[in-house]
């Protein structure tokens, strides 16, 4: 990042602070099958008059196009914040169509899904340049030290943009949000089950506090 760009970035952050921007464009990021779309659907269900963001499936890369929902007003802690939320395709460094065939897809279906998934990853990366903050969704039953998590966190830190880690799937017995906290102690984290809706009120409070 050059000097001019760095200066522009710092100036933009100060302008936002001075005028207390109350609308933010927030991206839901994370590896495939972390529960991004399940959480996006939950947020839309709780704060709009209906609809969903996308389909949910056990097969990785179900979301292969970014979807934006505008103008969600989240009220928490006695204040409100207007959000545009962007549900992004899962980030990955490798995509092998044979992995999809293990879920019962035909070879043709698996290859089509693989092609679309690669485009989805590129789309998710492009969206990083157009956001005010990120909810990084992690599956708390999995090892948090994945390169996808490291890369997303590194990019948000480099851009000096707010990041909130969401430790999802705490309804599962093997969930360990503490492992995520230990891996990335420098960032705020909220533990939830997007599927069951447990602790999402705490997430909304954290969103209202963190992204204004």
């Amino acid at each position: 990042m050059g000097f001019i760009r760095s200066l522009k970035l710092s100036f933009g952050i100060w302008i936002n602070k001075i005028f207390k921007k109350k609308k933010a464009k927030i991206g839901l990021y994370g590896p495939p099958n972390a529960g991004k779309t399940t959480l996006a659907n939950r947020i839309v269900e709780d704060w709009s008059d209906g609809g969903t963001m996308g389909l949910v499936s056990a097969i990785p890369h179900e979301t292969r196009r970014a979807v934006r929902k505008e103008g969600l007003i989240i009220e928490a802690n006695g204040s409100s914040i207007e959000l545009d939320i962007v549900d992004t395709p899962g980030m990955a460094t490798k995509i092998d169509f044979r992995d999809f065939m293990a879920f019962g897809l035909s070879e043709a279906e698996a290859k089509k899904r693989a092609r679309e998934a690669t485009e989805g990853v590129i789309e998710a990366i492009k969206w990083l340049e157009d956001l005010d903050g990120v909810l990084l969704i992690m599956d708390s039953t999995e090892d948090p030290y994945t390169q996808v998590n490291v890369v997303i966190i590194g990019n948000m830190e480099a851009r000096k943009l707010p990041l909130l880690i969401v430790a999802n799937k705490i309804d599962l017995p093997e969930a360990s949000p503490a492992r995520i906290k230990a891996a990335f102690p420098q960032h705020p984290m909220v533990s939830i089950s997007a599927l069951e809706g447990s602790n999402v009120d705490e997430l909304y409070k954290a969103i209202a506090a963190h992204f204004r």
Partner: protein, 119 residues
Amino acid sequence: MREVHMDLISGEKLDRLTSMEKIRLILDKVKTGRIVVLENGLTPEEEVRLIEMTMTEIRLDEFSGIEIESYPAKKGGSFLDKILGKSVKGRLTVIGPANQLRTIEKDRYQISTKVSVGD
């Protein structure tokens, strides 16, 4: 006996390359089956560009992507680095073809990987 070709690239060499040259160098090596170890790693922005380029080069029956592991980027650097926007430093990074390099374990201080050489 099958052999594994590893390229350990020094920080001095990486410092002389532009971001795009680093990414091209890495992908060209990895696509021929080599394991690449970078002494200083890549910046977070370079890493995300590497993932983007990797996605454009995936070919269904030939190249399924990369396995990449590094430690979280280090903040710091001199005052001048901060002024120039270089306050986030990349760290030791290992990159290889996704079908050959597999991460066994990773934590804040150690990365363990396994390399399979195929049939």
